[in-house]
């Protein structure tokens, strides 16, 4: 039976093929169906926001006399309380919410690494000081503090990103400290030191790349957290300021029309939820794919 023999040979070849770490990660990730679907959804959301002016030709901030209009061919989702096209506003708000999410997550991770890495690597007094700082930050309720900070000035997009990033980093710093604490004892670090590498080189060239997996996972989840925090701030009126639309401040306006035009409240919240749940599933899939301890 030549067919069987050929099949067996193919199998043997497949078995012999060794997988790169990235290949193995991709294989695990692919099996996590929800994560895969989430990555697709997220790509769609990003694309739709990026192409907002192409998809909807209305100026998201242009008011008109056609207020609270029901869906129609001109306005596929209707208009809001001052006659702005709802679809156009949702898409442009997506740009804001996603930018805040990604921007704040990058900032969170950068600060988290800069504080956590030296604490874990050097230990001693520096660790005591930085850990103290982390613990004080963790003792402060984030949402109220973010509110206090943003109530001072007329907030803009950059300011919101800085507030969220500046308050969320302790969680990442704690993870990075633990990673560096354990990695600095490994042989490859000793080897690097024996070869004459300085502390900076060891931290950034030798240890940091080994913490990439937890960094990627933490960064993903921070994007979700930042989007939630931004929407809460904007909902309370202290985040992204109107007329610039964000999903959070659209919900603030929608509160008054909950009885009459609930769609105004349903769409932005559903988009926040969809985005955040996709990011969380993506993080879940990445964790499974990147953490060798979880691999079967």
């Amino acid at each position: 039976m030549p067919a069987v023999t050929q099949n067996q040979t193919e199998k043997a070849i497949k078995l012999r093929k060794t997988l790169t770490p990235a290949g193995r990660a991709w294989r695990t990730f692919r099996r996590h169906h929800l994560a895969l679907a989430s990555a697709f959804t997220l790509a769609l959301l990003v694309l739709a926001s990026a192409l907002a002016p192409v998809i909807s030709s209305y100026d998201p901030d242009a008011a008109s006399l056609n207020i609270l209009a029901p869906p129609s061919p001109e306005h596929p989702l209707g208009t809001d309380d001052v006659g702005r096209d709802l679809l156009s506003r949702l898409l442009h708000a997506g740009r804001i919410s996603l930018s805040v999410g990604f921007g704040a997550a990058v900032l969170t991770v950068v600060i988290g690494v800069l504080v956590g890495a030296p604490a874990g690597y050097y230990g001693g007094r520096l660790d005591a000081l930085l850990s103290g700082l982390i613990n004080v930050m963790l003792a402060i309720p984030i949402l109220p503090l973010a509110l206090v900070l943003s109530s001072f000035v007329q907030t803009n997009l950059t300011f919101v990103i800085f507030i969220i990033g500046g308050l969320s980093w302790p969680a990442v710093a704690r993870i990075m400290r633990a990673e560096f604490l354990s990695l600095r004892e490994r042989e490859f670090v000793d080897a690097a030191r024996v070869l004459g590498a300085g502390s900076g080189r060891i931290i950034f060239i030798h240890i940091l790349p080994n913490t990439l997996a937890p960094i990627i996972v933490a960064a993903t989840l921070q994007v979700a957290n930042a989007i939630l925090l931004e929407s809460a701030l904007s909902f309370l009126g202290y985040g992204v300021q109107p007329p610039q639309a964000s999903w959070g401040n659209m919900l603030q306006d929608a509160q008054r029309y909950l009885r009459t035009v609930p769609e105004l409240a349903i769409y932005p919240g559903a988009l926040i939820s969809l985005t955040v749940i996709s990011i969380n599933f993506l993080g879940d899939g990445l964790r499974e794919a990147l953490d060798p301890r979880l691999q079967v």
Binding site: L34, N135, V136, L138, A139, I140, P141, I142, L143, P144, L145, L147, V148, L149, S151, F152, V153, A224, L228, S231, A232, F235, L236, Y238, L251, A254, Q255, L258, R259, P262, A265, I266, P268, G269, I272, S273, V276, I277, N280, F281, D284
Partner: protein
Amino acid sequence: MNRYLIRRTLLAIPTLLVVSVLLFGLLQLAPGGPAALYAGPDAGPEDLERISRLLGTDQPAPVQYLRWLGGVLRGDWGISFRYREPVVGVLAGRLPNTVQLMAAALLIALLLSVPFGVVSAVSRWRPVQYLASIAAMLGVSIPTFWLGMMVLLVFSVRLRILPSGGMATIGLEHDPVDRILHLIGPASVLATMYIAAWSRYVRSSLLEVLHQDYIRLARAKGLSEWTVLTQHALRNALLPLVTLIGLQGSSLVGGAMITEVVFAWPGMGRLLAEALSSRDYPVLMAAFMIMAVLTVLGNLLADLAYGWVDPRIRLS
């Protein structure tokens, strides 16, 4: 153990002091002080001076802070700028409401998350597992305030079975049934995130425990699966949950705050939001510090509970 307890408790004091200095400093940095807001747009410079002397904001910042701290240590949290009455009185009216809301939410979360977690851990049926993981992820991903709005929309506006916010119907302030009806909405909304997060935790923790040898032994002895689960596995699986609950202080405080705003629940969170817009610094400081104390207390309890429920961990 006792020395550890004392050390941990003492460590909480400088933490809270640093938090208070930080917040006080932040309020000093704020442009446009409270005097300007209370004086109104037509006030002349001497009016401003008189009002800031009245509010005590004419003193240098360190003096103001020490005055505030001295007062707090004597149980005097100052006079509210807005209500012109002692902050202690303003807070006393609000704090019990927040505690009530948090306690109800924690109770709901605890009662539901453990069974959910157990079912999703032991079920071999794929749809159940899929459903459980999607439901849990939904729970942690939906913004609290939007969930609150949707609960109001469905149960108050459409079905008309729940009141549309507030704490009591006028005239029924002391009716327990009325109070519970008002509590159901906000407490369930606040609980949702924790039901989701904790049931996920219970699930993974239980799965880990179920693979251990002593469980195999218990099964080999011929114990029923129910006994193995409840008497042997669950006990150990629930240990880490104790810590997790304690560490949730900061998020619980924030969640309660935003839930109170959506449901018009007259608690501390709403007080803080109001104090913010009216620049009522004494109330703001007090509300904020109480939230920080709750958070630190949660962390402390988590630490202590961990050593207490798990004798394998010896604290030094």
